[in-house]
């Protein structure tokens, strides 16, 4: 540097001196200054080289960020975990499909590209493609989800500015079979109904938003549903709806001891591969989204309440000689006996008068308290996003108790009633139903004891008795020791109960001496047929349907048939004493 070299001061011009003074000041040791400057230079270069070395180390340690970016780019729609049934059968899975896109700015000849593309993809609207490719945008979708062969062909055409992105497409190989249960997804693979929506709620949506849910590294979700049972139930329900000209039919199979939903069908249903069908309001899921007055099925709850209170025993009797007058209402019996009935008789003859008197004997508050304890008055929430609030009377007087005792005046979701009846027969444990796998221990941990085990034994006896000599005889499949209760509710049309529009239900437990499964069948507005002698009540349609379902599913569920079983009073009642 020139400033370092010694210079005779006399030679400096005035200007130079000025600069010199500004740079070095007046009394500075120039040699010390020079040393300091060298140290500074060394430090500067050392820092520079340190940065370079550090960068090198970073490059060596951190894997190539290049490759990572590429993989996250190639899946646009979220990857979702597979959904399998309890036996590992695939219910929903992702399949990679290439999607065709164009980059209009890179395309040289729009007409040629359009022509070539429509030769490979005949269903492509060529005017639309031309317009899209002619636009000045950077990126346009041309066709989502094309076949691999088509991708190959287009690739061979070698059109510049045309490319493919692999996308995840959700497929439901079983079509309509599990529709209501599993729900469906939109074009971007986000769940919009059923268990698919539940999956999104569990954090998959956040994962997607962060851009991580792109590859299939997620564990499959195992549901409680059994595809074979689901198929058998649906097949029988479709046949029953057709035979009895019912508007709709629905069925449930639930594990009594764990609350697992083994099968849930509500027809008419939809094919989740065709999302347009799913929006049709007639195809709603009647078991969770609809609320109904379930009729005589509710008598089981009333009688359990009476027996559990200790004030009523199986040998108690109630006067059913006359219709029960309440205000301006007359409560009649459908199978009127015009005599004093014992509790088992009230159940098997499905006496409205008897159950109403039973509920009145215990009082309104007790009735309300009991139903609330059994979860019949609050909204039941499961994994499914769809749920309906029960319609509970705002002012609950004695008249309400009278009608609710035999299942009118309180509308609940059928799944809710199933949960209540499960508690009546499984030893008194109220277990919230679930669509996921659950072990017996987990269920016990969740359960609350709502009735005494002895009451539960009596309810098993009554249900079995009803299949032996009551209204449920047509559902008694030989060998499976079925117990059941019919229910026929008149539907409300324009504020009045209709005599012709019925909702028939059948609740079955099997085997009745130690229940493992509950089967619920619902038919909406079934018609009387010649072979049912014009009757449209539950024992003639929902009951036999339940019988057919049980005969088909019991072997699948591993229930061993037993013959020559003693009648209910000897097998179930004797055990309790």
């Amino acid at each position: 540097m020139p400033s370092d070299s010694p210079r005779p001061t006399g030679l400096m011009s005035a200007r130079r001196r000025l600069v010199h003074r500004l740079l070095y000041g007046r009394n500075v040791d120039r040699s010390a200054k020079a040393r300091a400057r060298v140290v500074l230079a060394i430090a500067g270069f050392a820092a520079l080289y340190a940065i370079v070395a550090l960068r090198l180390v970073m490059f060596a340690v951190v894997p190539e960020s290049h490759a990572v970016r590429r993989t996250s780019q190639d899946a646009v729609a979220t990857a979702r975990p597979d959904i399998v049934d309890r036996n590992g059968q695939v219910l929903a899975t992702d399949v990679r499909m290439p999607s065709l896109f164009g980059e209009p700015r890179k395309i040289i000849d729009v007409d040629e590209a359009t022509e070539l593309l429509s030769a490979v993809l005949p269903d492509l609207e060529s005017a639309e493609v031309r317009e899209r490719l002619g636009s000045r945008r950077g990126f346009v979708w041309l066709k989502r989800e094309i076949k691999p062969q088509q991708q190959q062909q287009i690739h061979r055409l070698g059109i510049p500015g045309i490319g493919f992105l692999p996308e995840n497409k959700r497929v439901y190989p079983n079509g309509a079979e599990v529709s209501h249960l599993i729900g469906l997804v939109n074009i971007d693979n986000q769940g919009i109904a059923g268990m698919e929506k539940w999956l999104d709620g569990r954090g998959l949506a956040d994962l997607h938003r962060a851009g991580f849910a792109t590859d299939r590294q997620q564990e499959p979700i195992e549901l409680a549903v059994d595809l074979r049972v689901q198929h058998a139930l649906r097949d029988e329900l479709v046949a029953a709806a057709e035979k009895f000209k019912a508007k709709a039919a629905a069925g449930l199979v639930v594990d009594v001891n764990t609350g697992e939903i083994i099968s849930m069908v509500s027809v008419p249903d939809y094919d989740p591969n065709n999302p347009r069908e799913a929006n049709d309001p007639t195809r709603i899921n009647r078991l969770t989204t609809g609320v109904f007055e379930l009729g005589s099925t509710f008598k089981a709850l009333t009688i359990a309440m009476a027996l559990d209170s200790g004030k009523v025993t199986l040998s108690s009797s109630f006067d059913a000689r006359m219709p029960l007058r309440y205000g301006r209402f007359n409560i009649h019996d459908y199978h009127a006996q015009h005599r004093v009935l014992t509790v088992p008789e009230i159940f098997t003859y499905s006496s409205n008068i008897g159950t109403a008197r039973m509920a009145l004997a215990l009082g309104v508050e007790h009735h309300k308290w009991f139903l609330r304890k059994l979860g019949q008055l609050d909204r039941l929430r499961t994994e499914l996003p769809e749920s309906a609030e029960p319609l509970v009377p705002k002012r609950w007087g004695e008249l309400n108790t009278v009608t609710i005792a035999f299942g009118h005046g309180l509308s609940v979701a059928p799944l809710q009633a199933v949960m209540g009846i499960n508690a009546l027969v499984n030893g008194g444990y109220l277990i919230p139903p679930t669509f996921l796998r659950r072990s017996q221990e987990e269920a016990r941990a969740l359960a609350t004891q709502v009735i005494k085990p002895e009451t539960s034994d009596k309810m098993r006896y009554l249900l079995r008795l009803n299949a032996e000599k009551g209204s449920a005889t047509k559902a008694d499949v030989k060998g499976y020791y079925v117990g059941g209760k019919t229910g026929t509710a008149e539907k409300v049309v324009n504020g009045r109960y209709s005599k012709t529009k019925l909702l028939t239900t059948f609740t079955a437990i099997l085997p009745a001496d130690k229940p493992r499964y509950q089967v619920l069948i619902i038919l909406d507005e079934p018609q009387g047929l010649k072979e049912t002698f014009g009757f449209a009540t539950s024992g003639w349609n929902a009951g036999p349907t339940a019988g057919k379902v049980i005969a088909r599913i019991a072997p699948m569920l591993g229930i061993e048939p037993r013959f020559d079983m003693p009648p209910a009073d000897r097998l179930i009642l004797a055990r309790g004493q």
Binding site: D215, V477, K478, Y480, A551, A554, P561
Partner: protein
Amino acid sequence: MLRLINLAVIGALVLSAGWLYEIKYSSTHAAERVAKLRAEIRREHDAIAALRAEWARLDNPDRIQILARRYLTLKAIEATQFDSLDRLPEKPVELVPPGTADPIGALIENMVDPEVVTGGIAQPEANP
């Protein structure tokens, strides 16, 4: 002396540069292979997923039922057709190996002790 050291250092530098180049090259090569294998694994995964979906579609009980109704004479199983294994009767003793052309003849042959020659009628030796 200094020159020798310098030469040695330069030689070491050249060697280490060559060695580094070699490592770098092979690591790039390995990385490429990893990327290629990853892509292949993903492709295989996708193919498996597609095949599983197809399998599930073919395995769908509704489809099987339709096919079975059309082509088979099978009927739904009934409760009376089940029984437990311990109630199965003992397997009868096989007297004749299965597939014998003349079972009754074989039975008689089995009963006859080959050692014993029964007497009785003498073989006619020369019958006119």
